[in-house]
């Protein structure tokens, strides 16, 4: 941090210089008057500087430097501003001398070298003898310069740059000149700093706007005293409001916020106002219906930024983010969980029915346990099949394969033939048919074609029509097994196939206990095409 010389304003300097007029000689009086005139002209100049710096234009900067240089009898001036590692020379010009372009360029280069050679901190005023002693200022001497002054630009003790003046006359830049330039430098520093802050604010504003747009944020301020809302551009856009001046009204039929809220959420407005009177920052979540009919979920906070003497909120800053997508995802999850719960409960009821029916059936306790296990496993495999397809359906081929697979004795594939066009079954149809086929396969492995190595099972299906309604006929035929005995007792399996499939699929099923092998025909409404099913 550079040290700082005492600051003496030119006005003070002029006051301090007020002489004892009664005892002054004519020459002294004349000199005093001249001094006063000069001080007056300098004050006028500083006043002009102050006015023009506010206008912020570089050309007026140059004009100001010209005027200052002329005032203090300088022939060159330059203005360095800190930017990066080295101070950047912004303005560099000859104040008065008529020079050719080449001469001016050469002078500029020399001055840059000198500016960079001089230590930047603190005010520096050098006369001819000082320049002669310092090798760093040798280039100045080559330009015929005999005096040099540099004043740092400081803003709250932060070094922003420097202004320098050089003169061809031997005894320039005395104390009053230094003070004058110092004041000018302070004004310039304040202007530069202000410009920097404005730029910073603008950048921060752009950053904020960017974040607001990217984050789908809407914000506005509620003023409870003026009963007004001041909306940001993004807020107006997101809420789909028609507010050309960005100002809305609290309460009444023109309350744009209340009107945009979903009717079921409008009661919340009064809640928010009540909460703001008690709490500085509070959450807010609600639905809005935009004028274009779009429903959106909003979530955010209200923050009290001013309270009245009674403690009630006067101004509240509000910010909300569009959470419509999250809400939709939550809703989907909720529906999924609901659906899952329903399926689990239904599956448990199915398991309960399987167990109850099997316990009522024939065979030893061990047989029944085995049967229960096999039926539950079959159900589980059907579930796997459906889960693989996101519970959208299952291919008929797969359903048949899964049902038969555990009972195939040889792996050469000759024992079972499956044939039919590819069809996608709805989950419910897949489950029912899977269970029915499991019963058929179990029966075949116990008493039929799959109980011996030479037996064969053929499963095939073909579309047909009955009374103009498309049906699917599915056939199960066993060959090569033991001679089939017609069974007097109809067990769970046959009940499931003959009654259950008819019940659930809205079709029909028939079991024929032919001596050469069981023959089963199942007819149910044609499953939708694969595209429709998916």
């Amino acid at each position: 941090m550079p040290g700082r010389d005492s600051v003496v304003a030119p006005a003070d300097g002029a006051e301090n210089a007020l002489p004892d007029l009664e005892n002054a000689s004519r020459a002294e009086l004349q000199s005093t008057l001249e001094e006063l005139a000069r001080a007056n002209s300098r004050l006028a100049l500083l006043n002009r500087v102050a006015t023009e710096l506010i206008s912020d234009s570089q050309t007026s900067f140059n004009d100001l430097f010209q005027a200052i240089a002329k005032e203090i009898g300088a022939h060159y001036f330059f203005y360095q501003r800190l930017g990066g590692i080295r101070p950047e020379v912004l303005i560099l010009a000859a104040a008065s001398e008529q020079q050719s372009e080449d001469e001016a360029n050469a002078a500029n280069e020399i001055l840059i070298v000198a500016a960079e050679a001089a230590p930047p901190s603190g005010t520096l005023a050098l006369q001819a003898s000082d320049l002669a002693q310092n090798e760093a200022f040798a280039p100045l001497r080559r330009l015929g310069l005999k005096s040099f002054m540099r004043v740092p630009l400081l803003a709250q003790d932060r070094w922003l740059g420097a202004v320098s003046f050089a003169s061809t006359s031997r005894h320039s830049f005395l104390q009053t000149d230094q003070e004058f330039v110092r004041t000018f430098a302070d004004q310039l520093a304040a202007a530069v700093e202000r410009q920097r802050l404005v730029l910073q604010l603008r950048e921060s504003e752009q950053l904020y706007r960017g974040a607001v747009i990217t984050g789908r944020l809407a914000s506005w301020e509620t003023n409870m005293v003026t009963r007004e809302r001041i909306w940001t551009k993004e807020g107006i856009e997101m809420f789909g409001l028609d507010l050309p001046d960005g100002r809305g009204t609290i309460g009444g039929e023109h309350d744009e916020f209340r009107r945009t809220l979903h009717p079921e959420d409008r009661y919340k407005v009064a809640d928010f106002h009540r909460t703001a009177d008690e709490i500085d920052s509070y959450p807010a979540e609600y639905r809005i219906i935009r004028s274009d009919g779009r429903l959106m979920w909003m979530s955010g906070r209200g923050r009290v930024i001013e309270r009245g003497p009674d403690g009630k909120a006067r101004r509240v800053a509000n910010i909300v983010v569009d959470v419509t997508e999250q809400k939709k995802a939550e809703e989907r999850t909720r529906l999924l969980i609901d659906e899952l719960n329903h399926r689990v409960k239904n599956t448990l009821a199915t398991v309960q029915a399987i167990v109850a029916q099997t316990l009522n059936g024939e065979g030893s306790a061990a047989d029944r346990r085995e049967t229960i296990e096999a039926r539950l496993q079959s159900l589980s495999r059907s579930h796997n099949l459906l889960t693989r397809e996101n519970w959208e359906g299952a291919a008929l081929h797969e359903v048949v394969r899964e049902a038969l697979h555990p009972f195939i004795r040889s792996q050469d594939g000759r024992q079972v033939s499956v044939d039919g066009p590819p069809l996608l079954l709805r989950p419910k149809v897949a489950l029912s048919l899977g269970m029915a086929l499991h019963e058929l396969a179990t029966n075949a492995s116990k008493y039929g074609a799959l109980s011996v190595d030479v037996g064969q099972v053929a499963v095939w299906w073909t579309p047909s029509t009955a009374d103009g309604v498309p049906f699917l006929d599915l056939f199960w035929q066993e060959r090569g097994g033991p001679t089939v005995q017609s069974r007097s007792r109809r067990g769970f399996g046959s009940r499931l196939i003959e009654q259950g499939l008819a019940h659930e699929l809205g079709g029909s099923a028939r079991l024929d206990y032919c001596p050469e092998g069981l023959y089963c025909t199942i007819r149910f409404p044609m499953p939708p095409s694969e595209e429709d099913a998916r």
Partner: protein, 118 residues
């Protein structure tokens, strides 16, 4: 409240296994099964053509709800109970006073719900 024996019931249930279990349970509770429907259309047919004293309605019939059937029963002043895997919240408010039995249910739960009807 009168005794159950002899009362005839309509079953509306899309899952066959659950339907036959229900039939067995009702038989055990000395009810008669007047008919079994697996979808709303079949249920409405049976309501129009069959005599029965009460019904057991599954709320979800393969993706559809059974409230049209419930409305037809209410119109005829036939008492009924709901069965569901979803929870009672799925029942429309206008039918909220009807007993709801959660799947999977026990014989006693079914019996208690049915006895509330008379």
């Amino acid at each position: 409240m009168s005794s159950a024996p002899g009362k005839r019931l309509l079953i509306v249930e899309d899952e066959f296994l659950i339907a036959i279990m229900l039939e067995d349970m009702l038989t055990e509770l000395d009810f008669d099964v007047a008919g079994t429907a697996s979808n709303p259309a079949r249920a409405l047919e049976l309501i129009a053509s069959t005599e029965f004293d009460a019904a057991i309605l599954d709320v979800n019939l393969d993706g559809c709800d059974s409230f049209a059937v419930a409305a037809a029963l209410s119109e005829r002043r036939i008492p009924f109970i709901f069965t569901t895997g979803y929870g009672a919240s799925r029942v429309l408010p206008e039918f909220a006073h009807h007993p709801v039995v959660q799947k999977p249910y026990r014989l006693e739960e079914l019996s208690d719900a049915l006895r509330q009807l008379w």
